[in-house]
Amino acid sequence: MRPGSGAAIAVVAVALAFVVYCLVDLSRARVRNLPKWAWAPIICLTIPWGGILYLILGKDRTTPAVPDPAPPPDVTAGALGVHSSPAAPHIPRRIPAGPVQIDVDGLTKRFGPVTAVDDLSFAVRPGRVTGFLGPNGAGKSTTLRVILGLDAPTSGTALVGGRRYQEFIRPLHEVGSLLDATAVPAGRAAWSHLRAIAQSNGIGQRRVREVLELTGLETVASRRIGEFSLGMKQRLGIAAALLANPPVLLLDEPANGLDPEGIRWFRQLLQAMAAEGRTILVSSHLMSEMAQTADHLIIIGRGRLLADVATEQFVSGTSHDVLVQSPSAGELASLLTASGAVVAPENGGGLAVTGMNAAAVGDLAVSHGIAVHQLVTRHGSLEEAYLALTGASTDYRAGSPLPEVQTARAAR
């Protein structure tokens, strides 16, 4: 028996008792005085109860799932980082025969005088994790909302697999999404929350249990979501996105609030799903995390496309230099400058050399008998490359914190 059905049966029993009492009352009195039409509404009244009983007790239709292959070995649970679950469940995957691509074409979205997204075009291809980056207010969330059919574009299109999102009848089977992990009902249990989402797309209880186990939430499934930490809400949101095992995932800041173990688990999950041929678009502010997770980057600023490149290419395309430390730095600097390199003194001592690689710098030093204590090639980080690219297109920039601190102290 399902939870809650006992209460439902009690309610219906009480209701039926009332009907019986009414009939007894009628039969005691002059039944002939009762207008004939009165019987019709009395009978009609029982229909809603039947409908609600059907909803509550109706048979669960689990989605037609792939027949389970052999259960996975136990080590996989550890590899997935699913803590507090001894054996991760096997999740049957359903990936459409053809790859699904997201196409955003000439997308513009205005909110009154504000242009949030300005003639934005890009494609998200299957089989890799695509990072979606941009400063606050760049239009990332708006773009995701338009793709999900929540906001109507002012002009342009956003198609998933060649179709508008609104055309999907059971969209969770096509696209899994997480827009805002805190947008959850505080008063509802995690189980009921996921169950309601699952029911709307014809997904059975078994699958709800599976995603709860996959995200490590099965022990707190009956607790109210209001008691959850941000990290647990993120896991809940990821669970909801994975409910129907979709070929496309759209995730807005999914790593916020996850602990390091959770981030690692999530990164592996995304990469494994991309390797299966899924299309994954993840927005994030955690640059180091993006550098490790994303294979491809789409960077926007002020609603316009700034870059659409492979992560490696983006990072390596940024400036890199050679740090060299030497007891006779002055002599080395003049030699390097004479050889055509650009030399700048470093704060911590040593020279930053550009225009010449580490081997050439070392050879030059040796040929002149100059001792070298350190010789390092330094690559720009994704963060630096990102800041260099978006520096001009930041809407909300923090002012220098120092004067504020001083005025705050002065006020005290």
């Binding site: 005691r28 002059r30 609600i52 909803l55 109706g58 590899a79 459409p96 009848i169 969209p171 169950r195």
Partner: protein, 278 residues
Amino acid sequence: MTAPQLQAAKPAGTAGPAPSPLVRARDVLASEWTKLSSLRSNRWTLGAAAAVTLVLTAVVAASFAAAPHSGQRAAPVDRLATSFLAFAEYLVLPVTVLSVLVFTSEYASGLIRTTFTAVPQRRTVLAAKAAVTGAAALVIGEVLAFACFFLTQAILSGRHGGLSLAHPGAVRGVLAAGFVLAACALVGVGAGAVLRHTAGAIAAAVTVVYLLAVLCLVLPAPWNLRLGRFTLPFAAYAEVTAHPPAGLFSPWLSLLVLIAWPAAALLAAAVVLTRRDV
């Protein structure tokens, strides 16, 4: 060695054929029913409202039973309408507020985006929410209307003689009282969907459910009933009174009024929901 479990899984076909409209409707209804029934606060509020309604119905009936039977009293006790005094005061308001929250709580938490992402056909969501809330309110309303009726008649039976359901107009009155609750609930759902913010939507729903009638009461003589009969409380009174004052609509016309208000609210919601960004 990254997540071999996921990679080991065999790719399969797509989500399968699109469901028939009937299956689709059942899915969304079941989802909305889960949302409505899984909130503990809903159950507590309704239970408390039902208990208060029954207790106060008994108090009202007892006070009428204790009143002087004959003499100066101009009008006899309306034994039918008396049954629903507490019902109209203490059950209609909480149910209306809970119905407003069906939409506004989702807008407040942001859950509405998840809802419309799972079911992009927004009118289907509106229809499902209205159907589930309306059906729940109808069942609760009918059960409590019958309970209030029998309770009142049992207490009145001592001095005035309680009515039986076979009394002319009694069945109609009891059934209509339950229907009024469903009508108010649907007004609440529509107001919540249109206005999105809890405070404003409650104010709008309470205006339709109570305040318009109060405003009409203070109008000069012929106009109070002429305009008032178009409001929900006057129409409800026309259904449940055994002695309708001249100027009110007939029970059948009043039923039309009781249907028109929620229909208008839901129609406005259907128009607005599909034209607005979430």
